[in-house]
Amino acid sequence: MEAFKFIQKKTIIHILDPRTKLLLAIIYSILAIIFEEIFILFFVFLSLFPFILAGQLFKKWIKSIRGMTFLFLLLIIFNTLFSTFSRSISMIIRIMIMVSSFSLFFLTVHPDDLMLSLLSLKVPYNIAFSFSLSFRFVPTIAIEAQNIIDAQKSRGYEMEQGGLISQARNLIPLLIPLIVCSLKRAFHIAESLDSRAFGSTKNRTYYYSIKYAKKDWLLTIILISLFIFGVIVKIFPEFLPTWFYWKLKV
């Protein structure tokens, strides 16, 4: 989760309109999906670096990639077993591209701006608002979960080893308090929203607004060109020198 938690900073990437960054994440993900060639994926991946550096997110990003080591190992094992090693390498780069581009988005978009961009995409206010609300409460609920574990351990609860079923049963002392507390919390939040005029008029005003600036248009044009270029390459593979299509022999 750490990889997706917004950090307040004032870099050029943070200032960009959330929609531009969403576009970036989507276009990069599409590119990652349509290509399988290691080199092409690698270049796509490299081209994300300027954004990561400009957003001063390098450390966070390394952390999030490192956090996925286990997943990568699994990917290598399974892909090599059922397909090729080469395939597993491209799979890994693919996932790195998607994770990086989306964490770039979540790390630099204020959750409240996220709501505004959803609104500008004509998502109804209630849905957009609950989306930003869930972001707000992720850390709170994480702390509560930790407190529940602490409280149960203090009365002798042990995370048991054992079969899937007994492990699932063993989660009950944690899950039930978590559900109870979260429901209570949800009630309190709803109560407090009502008491703050939530939904009292259709003509809601907004203190903050998001604006597509020159730099957003510029980046949008670059991203779309990149996308078109990618599609062309996909359709006419001869467009690129053949070494781009090099594959590992295994």
């Binding site: 407190n147 409280a151 149960q152 203090s154 009365r155 002798g156």
Partner: protein, 291 residues
């Protein structure tokens, strides 16, 4: 009370604790707690009180430094042994209640203590009796009132019969009845020779029930002494975000008036007695007469 080395029960030496996200919650804590003591831990939110007590039963492992519980260094002993010796009662009962019935809730706490079946049932019924929960035995914990839930949460720790009992903020939101229940429980456990540690903001509760207070600020212990001394020093109070209990303020006021007051008038009964004779004296009234 004379403190003897062999009675030393908790020893904390140069303890630091860093949370995984980098927060340094304890910065070098040194502390001795003796068997049978009642000790308060005070200090503003975020001072590190909860972090400190969580190292006592193994929930958190010291980053550096050592914590001894009796003869065991917490790093070298199984958590199950620590939680058996040190029982922590957390503030919010909702964090732990989950079972189908009140009885099962207690049973769960006794699960890993190697009781025989008969001992187990005995202990359950004894606990329910003692905490006046017998009549709810087969009810679900979720329909209990706030006060009853709190009693059940406390019972679910007390039934394990820990040597060291830690309360985190026991009096929050409690009315006089609830406070009295906790006061009596502490008295009772104290008379059984248990060691009791109470994390609290409640100065009036502390001055009445806790002889020794430790004040924490910013990951350190900044004062350790008799509660009435700690709660009467302005400088300490400022750092700890505390205020003086009413009767300490009053006794200081009397002293400023050059009135000779006994040292222990911070206790209500003593203040009543003192003011009683002072008033009689001033107004020259006779026993039972009104001014």
């Amino acid at each position: 009370m004379e403190k003897k080395l062999e009675d030393l029960q908790i020893l904390v030496n140069n303890l630091t604790y860093h949370y995984p996200d980098g927060t340094i919650a304890l910065k070098g804590v040194n502390l001795n707690i003796y068997s049978g003591e009642i000790v308060g831990i005070m200090g503003k939110n975020g001072a590190g009180k909860s972090t400190l007590i969580k190292t006592f039963n193994g929930l958190l492992k010291p980053t550096t430094g050592v914590v001894y519980i009796e003869n065991d260094e917490v790093n070298n002993v199984l958590m199950s042994k620590l939680t058996k010796k040190v029982g922590i009662v957390f503030q919010n009962p909702d964090l732990q209640l989950f079972a189908n019935t009140v009885e099962d809730e207690i049973r769960f706490s006794l699960k890993n203590l190697n009781f025989t079946k008969i001992e187990l049932e005995n202990q359950i019924s004894l606990t329910l009796e003692k905490f006046k929960l017998k009549k709810f035995q087969n009810r679900t914990p979720f329909t209990l009132s706030g006060g009853e839930k709190k009693r059940l949460a406390i019972a679910s720790i007390m039934c394990r019969n820990p040597e060291i009992i830690v309360f985190d903020e026991p009096t929050i939101g409690q009315d006089a009845e609830g406070v009295k229940f906790i006061r009596n429980l502490i008295k009772e456990k104290h008379s059984e020779g248990k060691t009791i540690i109470i994390v609290t903001h409640d100065i009036e509760f502390a001055i009445d029930n806790i002889p020794r207070t430790i004040l924490m600020a910013d990951g350190l212990i900044i004062a350790d002494g008799p509660t009435n001394k700690i709660l009467s020093q302005d400088q300490i109070l400022n750092i700890g975000y505390l205020i003086s209990p009413q009767l300490i303020i009053l006794s200081k006021f009397l002293i400023d008036l050059k009135i000779k007051v006994p040292e222990d008038v911070y206790i209500k009964e003593n203040m009543v007695q003192f003011l009683g004779s002072y008033f009689k004296d001033k107004m020259g009234i006779t026993e039972g007469g009104k001014p």
